[in-house]
Structures are given as C-alpha cells and as structure tokens.
C-alpha cells in the first residue's frame, strides 16, 4: 500500500442537494439561495455544524462568491477559499481536490465544495452571445459589425470561433466526434447507447429530472440534429439546482455521522498545448483532438492511487455530450483508443450487469446539469452503498470532470 500513501488522506463526509428542475423551473429561489441551501444540507448530512466550516471551494466562474457565502452563512472564520481555473465542468473534481489539499496541509479543517447553476436565471453556461436569453427584460440593441476590444484572453480566443457560428459547446464537440468517427468508425448508435443507458439509470432516481421519460434507441435516433453528428439527445440537460460536498481530514472524519468516503487520489491539468481544449483550439495534435484531453490526468491518477481501470467498480463520467463519454472511457483506459463506441454498445456501461456501470444517477444527460458536482455526490453514494443503482459492494468509484476542456478526476473509496 505504499503507493496508496502517496495519494490523498482527505475524506468526503457530507453531501447535499437541492431539488433539480428543468431550465427555468426554479423561479421562486435564487441561484445563490440554492447554493446556500445545498451547503447547509451537506453540513447537516455530515453531522457537523456550520461553526465547524472554515473553507469554501468552487469552480467554473462561480457567481456565488465564497466570501459572501462565508459571511452570510456566519462562518466563524474563513481560512480557505478557492475556485479552480479549470474551465466549466473541467473543475468539478479539481474543486474537491483543492479542498482536500487544503485540509491535508492544515490550511483549514472543513471545506464545503459547492456548485449552483440556475440557467433559467442566467445565460446558459459555455454559450456565446447567441445563447438563449435569460428570463427577464430583453437584451440591448444589435451590435454594429466591426472590431471591439477583447474582455479576456478567452474572449480573444473565441474571436476565432464565434464569428464562424461556432457558438456553443455542441458545435465544437460535434467536430471532435466527426473526426473520431472518421478515424475510428464510431457510430451514432454507439453514442446513443450512452444516452439510453443513463436514461435507464435515471428512471430509478427520484431526483432525476428525466426520470419519468424513458428513451429507446429509436427515440434517440429520431431526435433532431443540433449539430451533426450530435442530436438533441446527445446533449446534456439544461437544469436548475445546486449540490455540495463536505471535505475534511481522515482523523476528523472518523468521529462523524457518515461512514467516511476516502479520496484515494486526484489529478488535474492538461497535456502540452491543450489550451482551453477543443472548444477554442483546433490546432492540437490529432491524438489529443480526438481524445477527452484527460490522458495525462488519467496516468497521474492511476500512478498516485496505485490503481488502474481494472480496479474500479463504478464510474461517474462527466457527460455533457454522449460522444465525449466514449472519449473519457478511452482516456482512462477502460477500453483501447478508438474503442469507446463498441465498448458502450456492448452493454458494458449498463447497471447492474455491465463490466463498468457508469452514471448510476443518470448523469448530466438525465439527472441534472450541475457541472458534474452531482457526479461527485453520486460517487459518495456509491461508496456509502446508498445509490438508487447501487453497484453491490462498490469499493472504488472513478469520478471525472468535463472532457474537452482542462479537466480533473478523483478516485473515491474506502480506507
């Protein structure tokens, strides 16, 4: 177990979720209120008091700043606050990992990682100026074509995508899957299997927004194209909701209400030259372009934990798009390069009988789109034995963050 000792010693001891609803479905509660509600629920689940919390962590340009939350929640002292630089859903696992590093170094003792996302109250995440407008007064006048000063580095990079109508993630990642199909023969049915499988898992989950909407392969194939080869059902939901996870030290975890879920290891980052990922970079090497961008993260994760894909009992794979799930499965070594499609179609991803059941809560495709922090919550449930699609005796769970952007991953388990 010497390799294991090089991993993390932190534990996930509490989880909290608000209700999840379709886009615009939550209008009586602000996004910030939902964040606070999720934090309160997670701390209660852990058997802790808010007076025990001294750290807050998030990701993805969170609008709900930790400094305000710390004051509003009445934390006795804020000793740690961080937000991952990894963009969008790439930072969900990194936020947990950063919290773990904070408690392991003694910077603080109890960190709540949170994410609230009410797209009905704001623009859809990751979408350019053409995004579905928020509910409320209409936007300003149309712009006169010309040149303007970039607001951020990302803005200057997206100047090389937006004027070409590459407005949003489904368009950018459709191009990745088109290339993957060209190289490896990946098919629509193989992508569709991810949608059908996770919808079946959602049917058992009372929290899942699409839990009462069964989907067959025919339903999938008949859904309209958004950006070929992506159909509507290749794309994740747009939802409202929030969730949170409490991270503390192993020692502290032993005294708490829940059986502690160990963070066996984590990794985050990008390969050389990956930049912001395929969303803003089409110039990277072909092997990276047709990947999740997670190969270096996977290599480090397996090295740090002393584990490999064969040791994982259940996986919660970030699923903003069906096709990128296939690429993540390849990057983390569950199947060979280019074999993600046949692996999915073989039934390997299906609970309970598949070789590697994934997204047992329904994922972003069928439970809710909380930027993957709900995948961490589900990972905790699996190790506790509380999932609605429980993998019997699950002792290890891989959780991944968004493919196609700088990303991160965790292995949860028992210590």
């Amino acid at each position: 177990m010497s390799k294991r000792a090089a991993g993390s010693t932190a534990c996930l001891v509490g989880i909290g979720e608000t209700r999840y609803a379709k886009w615009g479905g939550i209008t009586d509660t602000s996004e910030y209120q939902l964040a606070v509600d999720a934090i309160v629920a997670a701390v209660a689940d852990a058997g802790l008091s808010m007076d025990d919390v001294d750290g807050l962590a998030s990701f993805a340009d969170d609008r709900n700043e930790a400094t305000f939350a710390a004051a509003d929640l009445g934390l006795p002292e804020l000793r740690y606050a961080s937000m991952s630089w990894l963009p969008g859903g790439g930072g969900s696992c990194a936020a947990v990992a950063n919290a773990a590093m904070a408690v392991e170094t003694g910077a603080c003792e109890v960190v709540v990682v949170y994410r609230s996302l009410c797209q009905g109250q704001f623009h859809r995440f990751g979408q350019g100026p053409g995004g579905r407008p928020p509910r409320g007064p209409s936007q300003g006048p149309a712009r006169v074509p010309g040149i303007r000063k970039a607001r951020t580095l990302l803005d200057a990079h997206l100047a090389f995508t937006m004027p070409f109508g590459m407005f949003s993630p489904p368009i950018a990642y459709a191009m990745v899957l088109q290339r993957h199909m060209h190289r490896f023969g990946t098919t629509p049915e193989q992508m569709g299997q991810v949608a059908v499988t996770t919808r079946a898992h959602a049917a058992r989950n009372p929290r899942a927004v699409m839990g009462s909407r069964p989907m067959t392969m025919d339903d999938y194939l008949q859904s309209r194209f958004v950006s070929e080869p992506f159909r509507l059902f290749d794309c994740c939901l747009e939802t409202d909701g929030a969730c949170a996870v409490v991270v503390t030290t192993h020692e502290r975890a032993l005294d708490l209400r829940q059986v502690p879920v160990a963070l066996l290891g984590s990794a985050q980052g990008t390969p050389r030259g990956f930049g912001h990922g395929q969303y803003a970079n089409v110039g990277m090497p072909d092997d990276d372009y047709t990947s999740a961008g997670a190969r270096t993260v996977a290599d480090r994760l397996w090295a740090r934990t002393g584990l490999g894909p064969q040791d994982i009992d259940v996986a919660e794979i970030y699923d903003h798009f069906t096709g990128l799930v296939l690429l993540s499965l390849e990057d983390f070594g569950f199947c060979g390069r280019g074999e993600g499609g046949p692996f999915a179609l073989s039934g390997a991803l299906n609970w309970p009988d598949g070789a590697m059941p994934i997204n047992t809560h329904g994922g972003s495709l069928s439970e809710a789109y909380i930027h993957g922090l709900n995948h961490v919550v589900e990972g905790v449930r699996q190790i506790r034995g509380d999932s609605t699609c429980q993998v019997e005796g699950a002792e290890t769970c891989l959780v991944t963050s968004a493919a196609g952007v700088p990303t991160s991953a965790l292995v949860l388990g028992r210590r």
């Binding site: 000063k149 368009i171 309209r224 090497p285």
Partner: protein, 167 residues
C-alpha cells in the same frame, strides 16, 4: 462585389494586443499565420511567445489561402435568431497550406452539406462584415482533387509543413 453569406448579427470578434495584427491583415483580405522568427514554428490563434523555443519575436506570414478540411459539423439549430434563415451552415476546422500544421475554424460555403468530407480541398473567400471586419470563409477548391494529409490519422499541430504540397 461584396458577397455575404452570414447575417450582420454574427458575433463581433474581441481583439487584444496579440491578435490585433491577424484581424488587421484579415481586414485587407490577407490570410496570415503568426510565425516564430527564431524557430519558424507557427501558432494560431496568435500568442505572445513561441511555445516551442519561447522566443517572443514573431511575424505575420502570408498564406496562399488554400487548405483541407480537418473536421466539420453541419449546424442545424439557430443559436442566434437571424441564423434561422441560414440553416444548415457548415463549420470546419481547416488545415492551412504552408501553415506549418496550423488549423483554423471557419465555414464551408457553396456546398451541399451531404457533399462535405474530411480531407476535401478548400479555398479562402472573404466576407466583409463591417468597416473594419473581414472574415475568411472557405469554398470547395475549384478543380482540385479531394484528399490530403489531413485525412490521415497522423496529422499533428507540430507536423510537417505542408509548404509546396498543394502548390
């Protein structure tokens, strides 16, 4: 005559110190790529330093405006309302001839979506969107056979320079 393919409401590019020169060249219908003066490495989008040799010296290198389709998508949803009349449209990543492996996002126009394929040869065409803004789109190359190194599985951002290969 100024040909138009996309509506006025297309997003306006935001420009910074590193990218301004590229858009200035585009306004004059020059398709350029940033090339490291020290080691000849190209990079796109433009940046402040060469990722290979870390030289900060660079120049704008004119390209012939030809290339091949690395990948593409046929967009069938209008993400801005005024695009509803322009559906479907095609977004491509094009590998630029003499670009040292550089690729850029653009559009393929004047083609049936059914006829698009990876590796097909394309030529630049300019769309003037405003007084200081011209955007390079691509159309199928006239008289050129399709298929190129882009269609192989070994393409790389740092791969061999395509100079002369399609001259």
């Amino acid at each position: 005559m100024n040909m138009r393919w996309f509506p006025d409401e297309m997003p306006v590019p935001g420009v910074n110190a590193e990218t301004n020169g590229w858009w200035e060249a585009a306004a004059r219908h020059r398709l350029v790529v940033q090339r490291c003066t020290a080691c000849d490495q190209t990079r796109h989008p433009p940046g402040p330093i060469c990722p290979r040799c870390r030289s900060t010296a660079s120049q704008w290198s004119d390209l012939p405006g030809t290339g091949s389709v690395f990948t593409y998508t046929v967009v069938r949803q209008a993400f801005i309302p005024s695009l509803a009349d322009h559906l479907p449209y095609i977004v491509i990543a094009v590998e630029l001839d003499q670009g040292g492996g550089a690729r850029m996002v653009s559009n393929l126009i004047d083609i049936d979506p059914f006829d698009v394929s990876i590796g097909m040869r394309v030529d630049v065409v300019w769309e003037d969107m405003g007084p200081q803004l011209a955007v390079p789109r691509f159309r199928p190359a006239t008289g050129a056979a399709s298929g190129s190194a882009t269609g192989s599985t070994t393409g790389s951002a740092t791969g061999t320079d395509a100079k002369g290969a399609h001259a």
